[in-house]
């Protein structure tokens, strides 16, 4: 490409367009005036003005999770950048591709405690896959291209580019759109075929095979391969929170989420299997529990992950496979088909046992569930019944999230968006904004708690201003419910600082922003309320009043293992 003479800000925008960026979520500031001056004229990039930088990062994250494209957020120096931190850490933990652009004080002023100066580069180092502090305008084309390449290859993640004011303002001659150049970054994509063959053999010969599917399956676009492999092998599938949607919930082989707040039969299946294919998961403590002798004690463990650093990190495995999940699963399928390993023939006893547990255990713990939840479970089931398979659900963090994970039936990849690793309250609503922008034709619902929603609700203004009609369904229990639940179960019911007291009137709050608001006192009212919200065409808030003592049960107590779930004492089948 021919040399062109451009300002740093113009180069940034040209390179963003070249990377296919269509949307950026951001807030301007003093050192970003040059960049925003260029964005003012820009037609190809839609800039959405957020009301808090944390929401800009979450929105970019939500956008990335729904679309698979890299999400972009922009914040100014100092407080703008520090406000991004939570959102970037969140995206990093869940391997979501996000590029953050931050303004910085002029290079000559760096280190002088200048107005709105913070060392964004060092602050964000541990919470990004990589970050750049650009010192010369001429470096911008290479840095921006490399940033996008790093964010959306290998194990996906967050890349931050810190842009000093003079770097954006200076005019220089550059060649645009360079190719990526790295001395040491070569993402490991192709799995080792010896290993995939070994894995396929183990799974084919197992009597009780099980697949544990994590978010990596969704990120790799391998849901179809996963379903096919499960059916071919006759292997039931359990998922992590991030893996929800990797296989349709409701599929006969899908046991739903396992782990701390998982389904009793999913955890039991992990405990009983003799071969486990763990794919695109990092064996988080929320999935494995803490008594690791109860985690697949009899199983030959196969672990497929794109990140070699995840192998043997939390769990020692027998057959590690480093590489792209989609390629690894395809290789296994090819080998199984070629060697005519027939569908789950010897596994009928196992499949039968799983099916029995599935129906019988539910019956055994019915009372525990009923006792624990006044309406929360029914509310989620109602939402699940109304929304179509393409609709996107985001969640906040806490009880609302776990009720959603437990009872919301996710049918497709990239339709259940939740903060898994970092567990960020306030994530769901801005993530819903990003989701709706990525998929404007789909219904987007944030399943929220009153505590979480109050952390980021100011961005209702963003929704109204930019016509982003997401629906927020608030579990209104006037408590930080999950912490309250732990206090009830493990801290002698001393509810230390979990009561929210006089919570706001969320209907009035919605209306104050120009949104649609409706209150739901009984679960049976929710259906109409949701339909009203969708029909209003506006961003909407549904205030769902639930009991303060609602609990999400059964659960693994802290320090416990997969077979020691509270609330399963009466279950005869496990």
């Amino acid at each position: 490409m021919a040399r062109v003479k451009l300002s740093g800000a113009e180069i940034v925008v040209e390179e963003l367009k070249n990377e296919g960026v269509e949307v950026a979520f951001g807030i301007p500031g003093g050192v970003l005036l040059d960049l925003y001056d260029v964005l003012y004229e820009e037609k190809e990039i839609r800039h959405i003005l957020m009301r808090h930088e944390q929401c800009a990062a979450h929105a970019a994250d939500g956008y990335a999770r729904v679309s698979g494209e890299t999400g972009v957020c922009i914040a100014t120096s100092g407080p703008g950048a520090t406000n991004l931190v939570t959102g970037l850490a969140n995206a990093s933990m869940d391997s979501s591709p996000v590029v953050a652009l931050t303004g910085q004080v002029p290079t000559a002023a760096i280190g002088s405690n200048a107005f709105q100066e913070a060392s964004t580069f060092t602050i964000t180092m541990p919470i990004t896959k990589h970050n750049f502090l650009v010192k010369r305008t001429a470096d911008l084309p290479k840095v921006i291209h490399n940033a996008f390449y790093i964010a959306n290859t290998g194990r996906k993640g967050v890349v931050l580019i810190d842009l000093p004011k003079d770097v954006l303002a200076d005019v220089t001659e550059v060649n645009l759109h360079p190719k990526e150049t790295f001395a040491g970054y070569k993402p490991n994509i192709k799995p080792n075929q010896v290993q995939t063959k070994r894995a396929a053999e183990v799974l084919a010969n197992a009597d009780r095979p099980l697949i544990l599917a994590g978010g990596g399956v969704i990120i790799a676009g391998a849901a179809e391969e996963l379903r096919y492999l499960a059916e071919f092998l006759g292997a039931p599938v359990v998922t992590t929170l991030m893996g929800k949607g990797a296989i349709p919930e409701g599929h006969p082989f899908c046991l739903g989420m396992a782990g701390m707040h998982g389904h009793i039969y999913a955890n039991r299946a992990i405990n009983e299997c003799d071969a486990m294919l763990a794919v695109g998961t990092r064996f988080s403590d929320r999935t494995t529990g803490w008594q690791l002798d109860q985690f697949a004690p009899d199983a030959t463990l196969i672990h497929v992950d794109i990140d070699a650093a995840e192998i043997n990190k939390n769990i020692q495995v027998d057959i590690p496979i480093v590489g792209d999940v989609k390629l690894a699963l395809s290789d296994m399928i090819k080998w199984l088909e070629k060697n005519k390993k027939t569908e789950g023939s010897s596994k009928s006893v196992w499949v039968q046992r799983i099916r029995e547990m599935h129906s019988a255990c539910e019956e055994c713990i019915k009372d525990v569930r009923r006792e624990g939840s006044s309406k929360s479970d029914r509310l989620i089931k109602t939402i699940s019944g109304i929304l179509d398979d393409d609709a996107i659900v985001t969640t906040e963090v806490g009880q609302c999230q776990m009720f959603a994970a437990h009872y919301y039936m996710t049918k497709k990849p990239r339709t259940f968006i939740s903060s898994g690793g970092l567990g960020t309250m306030g994530f769901g609503f801005p993530a819903a904004i990003g989701a709706k922008v990525a998929a404007p034709d789909k219904k987007v619902v944030d399943i929220a708690g009153d505590g979480s929603f109050l952390m980021t609700c100011q961005d209702l203004a963003t929704c109204v201003e930019n016509d982003i009609p997401v629906v927020v369904c608030i579990f209104h229990n006037r408590y930080l419910g999950m912490v309250r639940q732990w206090q009830e179960l493990f801290f002698d019911k001393k509810y230390s600082h979990t009561g929210l007291g006089m919570t706001p009137d969320f209907v009035m709050l919605a209306e104050a922003f120009g949104c649609y608001g409706e209150r739901v006192e009984k679960p049976e009212e929710l259906k109409d309320a949701l339909n009203n919200a969708f029909e209003s065409g506006k961003p909407a808030v549904i205030d769902m009043i639930v009991g303060t003592e609602d609990k999400i049960l059964p659960m693994i107590p802290p320090g416990g293992g997969l077979t020691g779930m509270i609330g399963t004492e009466k279950c005869k089948h496990v």
Binding site: F121, T122, M125, P126, K129, H130, L133, I150, R155, F182, A183, G184, Y185, D307, A308, A309, I311, N312, K313
Partner: protein, 159 residues
């Protein structure tokens, strides 16, 4: 628990050292020695890091280091097949001519150089394997070590 020496080839960018040390801090790993220097390839630096930790911790660190974008190569140095050197500068107190000649004799037997001398002290320089330097330092403590500087280790594989 064990000490392991890792040799890293890294891009010579500002912030690489912070990134590296931050990674160790995050994992709670203690660095016992770290040296950074230019190497045979322009634009790259070589880091020699000595770490103390359990086998599994060190394995995790090695993988995490490989994941850093600016790390080009990570080499685990096997102690037996590696030449390891540390440089020590030490100011030793000599109260009289007798201790002066004893210090100089011992220095000679260890292969240390006399870098400087004053009326009541000598500055010794020794480049050796770290364990040998340890022994030499212990010996000199008998006379009184006023100041001690060590560069930290650098290491090269024989193969």
């Amino acid at each position: 628990m064990q000490t392991r020496i890792i040799s890293l080839l890294v891009e010579d960018n500002p912030g690489v050292l912070t990134r590296m040390s931050g990674m160790f801090t995050m994992r709670g790993i203690n660095i016992t020695s770290l040296t950074v220097s230019p190497c045979e390839q322009e634009g790259l630096s070589r880091m020699t890091v000595a770490l103390y930790g359990s086998e599994s911790e060190l394995e995790k660190v090695r993988k995490q280091l490989s994941n850093l974008i600016e790390v080009v190569k990570v080499v685990d140095l096997e102690e037996r097949a590696t030449i390891i050197r540390d440089l020590c500068l030490m100011k030793v107190h000599v109260k009289d001519s007798k201790s002066r000649s004893e210090v100089m004799q011992l220095a000679e037997s260890y292969g240390a150089e006399i870098a400087d001398a004053t009326l009541d002290s000598v500055i010794l320089e020794l480049t050796e394997e770290p364990e040998k330097i340890d022994r030499f330092v212990e010996l000199m403590k008998h006379f009184g070590v006023k100041q001690l500087f060590r560069t930290g280790i650098t290491a090269i594989g024989r193969d």
